[in-house]
């Protein structure tokens, strides 16, 4: 008790030692856990069959890897091996690219858009039909809560295929006065944070514009991509139009460097993005890169505070913070910062961390051991940099990679935890006094993928919004996605746009 007391007085003091006026009851605690806790409500995975081994999907069939090499993917919530996957070598990639080239030449590029659209519509419907199964697999393989895979990921996947299916026979209207021609074979490499959604972002526009695809899912989350391969087969999609090669970074590099690939689409880290861009220099391959981010969420004092707190939670704790466009930097106006942080801490206490398959789970498992270690490094680093860490008091499961929702206060722009992408449920909180200062802090980053503005005043939204250099600005909300809306980054957050009409450009040559 006395311990508590000293602690609270300490935080109330300003740097100069003069106590700061605070509300008389700032030490009041709201008790969110002592009564009426929810019983387990797990989504049953009984009906979902996961094979012991999986192969590549090349030319319409599942084929063994040429060299016979395998790697395992684990369920990050239990640390148990889910299945063994084929490791793609240059031989596998070459086979896939050849199949894609053949399908492109003989079938897909010649097919009228209306016919291509039919296949894509069929795929979209089959995704909807199998949505429950796909959501469960996504949660088992990647650790994301079933609430999100069920309500966000898979519905958006279907929406993307529906949306681009609609474009397939209307491309001439997308580019008035120009004739769009497909590029050929697209090599696509996707990350582990939204495995199926990133697949949809890549494959749907490629197919709609008449390209064929060789896609590599991330090595920790290949399962839904192989389920998608089954859907392509069951939909009767012509052989070789979609090829899935599993593997890690080396496999990806084989795809990027394959001479018969016409376009590379990559979503992942800025570090790998730079390597890809270097290796593509001097080739005529088109490319889009969707890379890291360190999104700034600016809260003005005239914002609706309780809703803004909720928005901050959605911005940084959505998908365990494994979101390239996460709002990982909170920049809040000084006058409301204490109250805001108090409310955010209260809200964090109600976040349920645990079994991704439980319908009440808010924050699931960190995707992999590697990422878990990486986040831990940053948590330690924050302390060393003089930041004050606060975590929610929730229990964590015994096994699996779990991280409590975390905020850092007392941080500076020069700190690495403010500058670098952590890709976990970790938020840094800074304050500002004038709109200029807010914008300056938001822009002081090598990244520029997303940002948020919270105010009740419309003119402030537009005024501030146009000054923040970020590909996506959300106002009074965060992390909202729609297939009709383009998405992409400024600066080191990437090149090119995906989604919407803009998402067609990277997949066509305009004649």
């Amino acid at each position: 008790m006395s311990d508590q007391k000293t602690k609270s007085t300490k935080t109330e003091e300003k740097a100069n030692g003069i106590p700061k006026p605070t509300s008389p009851n700032s030490d009041l605690k709201l008790d969110y856990s002592s009564f009426w806790n929810y019983s387990d409500a797990p989504e049953s995975s009984d009906k979902v069959v996961i094979e012991d081994t999986y192969n590549h999907f090349i030319n319409g069939e599942f084929v063994e890897p040429e060299k016979g090499r395998r790697f395992a993917s684990v369920n990050p919530a239990t640390e148990e091996v889910l299945s063994q996957f084929a490791e793609g070598t240059s031989e596998d990639v070459d086979k896939a690219v050849k199949a894609a080239r053949k399908a492109y030449k003989n079938v897909w590029s010649k097919m009228p858009g209306r016919e291509r659209g039919k296949y894509i519509f069929r795929i979209a419907r089959m995704i909807q039909e199998r949505s429950r199964e796909l959501a469960i697999i996504e949660s088992m393989d990647g650790g994301k809560p079933i609430r999100e895979s069920r309500d966000v990921d898979i519905p958006l996947v279907a929406a993307h295929f529906f949306y681009y299916a609609g474009w397939a026979d209307k491309l001439e209207y997308a580019f008035p006065g120009r004739k769009p021609e497909p590029l050929g074979v697209c090599g696509q490499i996707i990350p582990w944070n939204f495995p199926m959604l990133m697949l949809a972002w890549k494959i749907a526009p490629a197919l709609a514009t008449g390209n064929t695809v060789v896609l590599k899912p991330a090595e920790t989350t290949p399962l839904t991509a192989l389920r998608f391969a089954e859907i392509c087969r069951d939909a009767g999609l012509p052989d070789g139009v979609v090829n899935i090669v599993t593997g890690a970074g080396q496999t990806g590099s084989e795809i990027v460097n394959h001479p018969d690939v016409n376009k590379v689409a990559f979503t992942g880290s800025t570090q790998v993005g730079k390597i890809i861009q270097k290796s593509l220099a001097g080739t005529d391959k088109k490319f889009t890169l969707e890379l890291g981010g360190k999104g700034a969420n600016i809260i003005f004092e005239d914002a609706s505070i309780d809703q803004a707190v909720e928005g901050v939670v959605n911005a940084i704790f959505f998908n365990q913070g494994h979101v390239c466009c996460a709002g990982s930097r909170l920049i809040v106006q000084e006058g409301i910062s204490d109250r805001f942080i108090q409310k955010l801490k209260d809200r964090m206490e109600t976040l349920i961390v645990g079994d991704p398959l439980d319908k009440n789970t808010d924050i699931g498992a960190i995707n992999s051991k590697e990422q878990y270690e990486r986040i831990k490094t940053y948590l330690d680093l924050g302390g060393k940099e003089g930041a004050v860490m606060h975590q929610s008091s929730c229990d964590l499961p015994q096994n699996g990679y779990f991280c409590r929702p975390t905020i850092f206060t007392n941080v500076s722009q020069s700190n690495r935890i403010v500058q670098e992408e952590i890709f976990g449920p970790v938020l840094t909180i800074q304050t500002f006094r004038t709109p200029d200062e807010a914008v300056q802090k938001a822009n002081n980053s090598p990244y520029g993928l997303s940002g948020g503005i919270w105010t009740d005043k419309g003119s402030k939204i537009f005024n501030t919004g146009q000054q923040v250099r970020a590909g996506v600005m959300w106002t009074n909300t965060f992390n909202k996605f729609d297939p009709t809306s383009p998405f992409g980054g400024y600066k080191e957050s990437g090149v090119g746009r995906e989604g919407g009409l803009h998402g067609l450009y990277p997949y066509v040559n305009l004649v």
Binding site: S23, P24, N25, S26, L28, L30, D31, Y32, S33, S34, F35, W36, N37, Y38, S39, D40, A41, R147, D151, D302, A303, S304, D306, Q307, A308, E310, G311, Q342, D346, T350, K359, N360, D456, N476, T477
Partner: protein, 302 residues
């Protein structure tokens, strides 16, 4: 005791309606199963203000209602009783007598319920009469016309006066959110009521549509939370009108749990103003206990 400074009610606290409704939608996704469901259902039953507010009410009807309140379902005598019976002032004495020896409270609407269109002295007399008849709790209505005019000090003074007239009886202040229309108005009326001395704030009379909604309730719960942080005083919440299903009741409890926490999950700080909710809760409790759904013909309608 710390002094409480009263905020300027002419200032509006912004509330983002999209955000409020999204938050409610997300809370509605909580899956309440097995033990927590049964616990929640029983808790909800214990929080009901079993209500009859009809012009056609008679002593006989009120006595019948009170019997149900004392013993909601005879085959299961261990179930909790409801929290209170809510009637018009002239039925308070009857209800009080019928509930003798139980800890079921008698709540009375007052202050020219439901419109509140009367002079202050009449409202105060109405309140004093109900208290003298034995009411433990008074449910007053605010003067919505004055509120919408912007006459906030009128509302404040009126509530403070009624609170004084209540003496030891608990005061619930009905905002009639359906007539206030915006969440910002609901927030403002909540703040005025709490600073003026309300023990509970309540959404609706049940006579106006829409009555209680979950977004309105969330806005009020957040106001209660801010008031608690500011003053250290715990004010109760009562959504009333239109809550008929056990599932909705559980959703309301989730709102309370995740906004205010465990301290508010009892009848001293949370109530449901409802009449038909009782039977649906009973049906669901029996289903949880026995695994079998009973037809509604086995439950008394009071």
């Amino acid at each position: 005791m710390s002094t409480v400074s009263i905020p300027d009610f002419n200032q509006t606290i912004p509330i983002d309606s999209v955000g409020v409704e999204e938050r409610v939608a997300r809370l509605n996704k909580r899956s309440i199963k097995t033990e927590s469901k049964l616990q929640g259902l029983k808790l909800a039953l214990s929080m009901i203000d079993h209500t009859t507010l009809e012009g056609s009410d008679s002593e006989g009807k009120v006595i019948q209602l009170c019997k149900k309140a004392r013993l909601p379902y005879a085959p299961m005598p261990d179930l909790p009783t409801v929290a209170a019976v809510c009637v018009y002032p002239n039925m308070v004495a009857t209800a009080k007598k019928a509930l003798e020896g139980t800890d079921v409270n008698v709540a009375s609407v007052a202050t020219a319920f439901p419109s509140g269109m009367a002079q202050l002295h009449i409202k105060l007399d109405d309140t004093r009469y109900a208290v003298a008849e034995g009411a433990d709790e008074i449910d007053m209505v605010i003067s919505r016309g004055e509120f919408l005019k912007g006459n906030y000090s009128f509302i404040f003074d009126e509530i403070a006066a009624v609170k004084e007239a209540c003496g030891n009886a608990h005061l619930k202040v009905i905002l009639e959110s359906g007539e206030l229309e915006t969440y910002e108005n609901v927030r403002k009326a909540s703040d005025i009521a709490m600073y003026a001395g309300a023990d509970f704030i309540k959404t609706s009379t049940g006579k106006i549509q829409p009555a209680a909604t979950q977004p309105v309730t969330l806005v009020m719960l957040e106001a209660i939370r801010d008031f608690y942080r500011e003053t250290g005083i715990k004010v109760g919440m009562k959504p009333a009108g239109g809550i008929r299903k056990a599932k909705e009741a559980l959703q309301y409890l989730v709102l309370v749990k995740e906004t205010l926490g465990a301290d508010w999950l009892n009848k001293d700080l949370f109530r449901f103003g409802a009449s038909s909710l009782t039977n649906d809760l009973l049906m669901q409790i029996i289903k949880q206990e026995t695994g079998i759904y009973q037809s509604n013909i086995y439950f008394s309608n009071d």
